[in-house]
Amino acid sequence: MSPAVSDALLEVDDLHTHFHLKNKTVRAVNGVSFAIKRGEIVGIAGESGAGKSVACLSILRLVPSPGRIERGRILFAGEDLLTKSDRQMRDLRGQTVSMVFEDPLNSLDPAYTVGSLIGEALTLHKGLSKREARKKAGELLRLVGIPDPERRLDNYAHELSGGMQQRVMIAIALSCDPALLIADNPTTALDVTIQIQILDLVKQLRDRLGMGVLWITHDLGVVAKLCDRVVIMYAGEVMEQGRVYDVLKHPRHPYTRRLIDALPKLGRPDQRLMPIEGRPPDPANLPAGCPFAPRCHKARAECGTTEVPLVESGDGRAVRCLFPED
């Protein structure tokens, strides 16, 4: 069930993406629902293997084989992406919905200059000439805050710093004025000062261009700094979602609470970190009931047996727990 959002840009509804291996089925995404409004930055947070990246690749219909979208709807501006033809999806990718990966250096083809890489999507989707594309590429580099952009156009990716590379990636993603930008952990490879710059840049670009942003991360600090709303994922399911302030300040799901407790806090050197014991469940062999139950302090007998629904409580807030905090 997706929270009722009237002016949604993207609405993911009960998405199931499974990987069919020889002798088992890995349920990477297992009934995920969330929505993004125009001009909104939504964070998806969770541990590694929670299904965040697969959920995002599902939106672009680029789940690597043997993965398959089993069930669900992905409504983009009211149209179901799962019913579109391959050709329509290709036109959509990089133009209406674009994506930025975690590792900028390896995402940039070493055989081409930054200028021609940025120009590629422009010639592809907008039919610009090489000269026009190059001019636009220069403007884009300026837009993402790269000094002396005309000179940088002739650089190869390996000649730029990590922060610059990520700015170039963002420039490529923005080249065709997308309505939605999906960013998969784009700041993990960067040090924190550059990270803050990139976050500020994305916020600034959102304000200027009005695109929706889906930001995947496992850093709640990034979520707090950047996002308007947050979706907490665990074992392929949404555990909790809502406005960032509400969720981080008053978490209702024990998992969210434990994630926040596991963060180091400034000025409290005496306080020990609280790790979450145990490991996430094997996505090929998910437990019955709540997937977090085996690691949850508050779990009771029924947590391990009953299917737990995602319960909405107004204002886009929803929590999947039988015994939520208030």
């Binding site: 994506m99 995402s107 083809d109 592809l124 190059r134 005309e150 390996h158």
Partner: protein
């Protein structure tokens, strides 16, 4: 200056106003790809020297009718096995009294063509095969690569002999058999490179940018698979000169008395103790040319790869 607060519009960065057309002129002043390539290549003096040597050998061979001092097929019995430096015969004479310099000049034609053409043609075919097999995988991969694997069951030389034997003697048939022998080997290299490049993140990046498969294949994968093929192909040139000579020696290639460096080497084998120059002179030439091709290959790779350019 905080990067975040950088001007987003065309505002002066350092206080000076930059006229727009000047900025644009600066933008399009970029040298062409050929120029960049040539500048990188010319900085590698060894490679330039090697390329010059190959060029010189090719030129001299091409002008053989004009430059050759004697007929390479007619011998002077009185001067049989005369050493290097004999008056009138700079590099001496061979066992049948033929001028070695003349034979070297004429033989270069055959040796270089017999090596270069099969490597080039085989590389083109192999890159296509390896690229298609590696990129599409599955059944296509299976059919192409398993078919090529059959060729690995036979030693390369034996295979060349067999094919040349079936086709009959002659320069064209030798080149054809050498091409067929090379394809499985170069295809493997191209295939491995393709499989590696295919899993690179920038291929996924092209996919999320909405690129068509053909565009991904030829625009992003192909350029990144070329350098191993170029390097491998250039090492094969030397081997092929020798292999081609071997076929000629067996009577499957060039028919005597037409000279070829490999045949010249083998002709001298009976006189190694008394007149080593008969084999040594063409041998040294062979080594020089083969090495030059290797060096040029390395230089090409370095100049074509933006990461290795200095």
């Amino acid at each position: 200056m905080s990067v975040v607060n950088l001007p987003l519009k065309d505002e002066p960065v350092d206080g000076r106003v930059l006229p727009l057309d000047a900025a644009e002129a600066r933008m399009f002043r970029r040298p062409s790809e050929w120029r960049i390539f040539w500048e990188a290549f010319s900085r590698d003096h060894l490679a330039v020297g090697a390329a010059a040597l190959i060029g010189l050998v090719c030129l001299i061979s091409a002008l053989a009718p004009a430059l050759s001092p004697y007929d390479p097929t007619v011998g002077d019995n009185a001067l049989r096995l005369a050493p290097v430096g004999t008056p009138g015969h700079l590099l001496g004479l061979d066992g049948q009294g033929r001028d070695i310099l003349s034979r070297l000049i004429w033989g270069g034609q055959v040796s270089i063509i017999i090596a270069l053409l099969p490597v080039t043609v085989a590389s083109l075919i192999s890159v296509l095969l390896g690229l298609v097999a590696g990129f599409f995988g599955g059944k296509v991969d299976m059919v192409i690569m398993r078919t090529l694997d059959v060729f690995f069951a036979f030693p390369a030389v034996l295979l060349a002999v067999a094919i040349a034997g079936v086709l009959g003697p002659g320069m064209l048939n030798v080149m054809l058999s050498l091409t067929i022998v090379l394809i499985p080997y170069i295809s493997r290299v191209a295939y491995m490179a393709t499989v590696t490049v295919k899993s690179e993140l920038f291929v996924d990046q092209a996919r999320v940018s909405g690129a068509r498969p053909s565009q991904i294949l030829f625009h992003h994968i192909l350029p990144n698979t070329l350098s191993p093929v170029i390097v491998y192909g250039s090492t094969l040139v030397g081997i092929l000169i020798v292999l081609g000579a071997g076929l000629s020696f067996l009577g499957l290639g060039i028919t005597p008395p037409r000279p070829d460096w490999g045949i010249m080497c083998s002709d001298g084998r009976n006189f190694l103790s008394v007149a080593p120059h008969v084999s040594a002179v063409p041998g040294i030439m062979l080594i020089l040319v083969a090495m030059s091709f290797n060096i040029v290959g390395d230089g090409l790779r370095d100049a074509l790869d933006p990461k290795l350019r200095r």
